[in-house]
């Protein structure tokens, strides 16, 4: 390991994913870049009635419950517990969270070697880096960014799965309500949607690899309707300009954030999967 990797090794529990990606130059991180930081993958051409029927069916589905305890900023001891200068914080709380994760894993597999435990720690810390960013931003308790829904095969929107040229597709729907926002973050597509399952399958060989693309895993977003005035999606340096039925993607590591200033909910489909070629 080089000097930087050692630094990560020492501090990774407290690192911001955004800052790690920045230091590893996983994206251009150039404030002056005029490059468009997203691309339209394809347009799914369906009549307006298809999309409206899909949305009508979708909003009748109960939103998924999510484990967002990691949004909670601990109040005991040090309320300002993440210092943005070096991103170090409260070891006790971080360690307790890891032990909890490990205990859950042990209970599911019954046997775990010390080597596996070390490997799990590294993978856990990769997920933890995203949580650290949210904590660093001071996001309030219970802030879930948007409602998430999954659908059954009898929902009209399940037809979208036949249009997408990916393997191992997972599709979820995100409804961002008025004045809700998604804090700036960077996805690790290989651990999206079902991170605990995918983490057990993923075997990075170095800490740098933990923060690197797995190549075939991608994430796409489909707009279920034209964006209304005030519905904003920022991808890197770009504001997304897309219309109903457009599916857009982005290079690994592009930070993104969204906000809905309009008076209407904003509906999209979130796709993860593996490219075939």
């Amino acid at each position: 390991m080089g000097g930087f990797s050692k630094m990560i090794d020492k501090k990774i529990k407290h690192l911001s994913r955004f800052e790690v990606h920045k230091k590893l130059k996983k994206w251009h991180f150039d404030l002056d870049s005029t490059k468009q930081d997203y691309h339209i993958v394809q347009h799914i051409d369906r009549p307006a009635e298809f999309w409206q029927s899909g949305i009508d069916e979708l909003i009748k589905v109960d939103p998924l419950k999510i484990d967002n305890e990691w949004f909670v900023k601990p109040e005991k001891g040090n309320p300002d517990w993440i210092n943005r200068e070096d991103y170090t914080g409260n070891d006790k709380d971080m360690d307790a969270e890891y032990e909890l994760y490990l205990a859950k894993f042990k209970s599911s597999t019954k046997r775990i070697s010390p080597e596996d435990a070390d490997h799990l720690l590294v993978k856990y810390q990769a997920v933890q880096s995203l949580h650290n960013d949210v904590r660093l931003a001071g996001a309030p308790k219970g802030d879930n960014w948007f409602d998430r829904r999954s659908i059954s095969h009898d929902n009209i929107l399940s037809e979208l799965l036949h249009e997408i040229d990916l393997n191992d597709i997972d599709i979820r729907f995100a409804t961002q309500n008025p004045m809700d926002m998604t804090y700036r973050h960077i996805d690790h597509e290989h651990s999206q949607v079902a991170p605990k399952t995918r983490l057990t399958e993923d075997n990075p060989q170095s800490l740098e690899e933990v923060f690197s693309s797995r190549g075939k895993w991608v994430k796409y977003i489909i707009l279920l309707h034209d964006l209304l005035p005030g519905q904003v999606l920022y991808w890197g340096n770009s504001v997304v300009k897309a219309k109903q039925g457009d599916m857009f993607g982005w290079d690994y590591g592009v930070p993104h954030w969204t906000v809905n200033f309009s008076n209407y909910p904003r509906h999209v489909a979130l796709i993860t999967g593996k490219t075939r070629s």
Binding site: S16, F18, L31, R84, D133, L136, A137, G138, A139, P140, M179, M181, T182, Y183, R184, P229, G230, V232, Y234, G236, N237, V239, P255, W257, V259, F261
Partner: protein, 81 residues
Amino acid sequence: MKLTISVGDVASDIVAGVKESEQYKLIFHSDWYWGHSVLVNNESVKWNANTVFNFSVKPQINVANLGDRGHDIEMEFLRID
């Protein structure tokens, strides 16, 4: 009116209460950073420190700071009488 938009702040039509006039200025005192979103009359804008926008009609301004604690949005809205 000077405004500091810190991380986690999101607000719409922030100058709605400003008195009517024939000219207004919006001046930014900090640089745009990843996580910042400012809409002026429903158009996303980007800026650097000292960027000035002039208006003959009071604009609708929506703001959100979704970045990090080290990067506030510092801005000033002026009514020119």
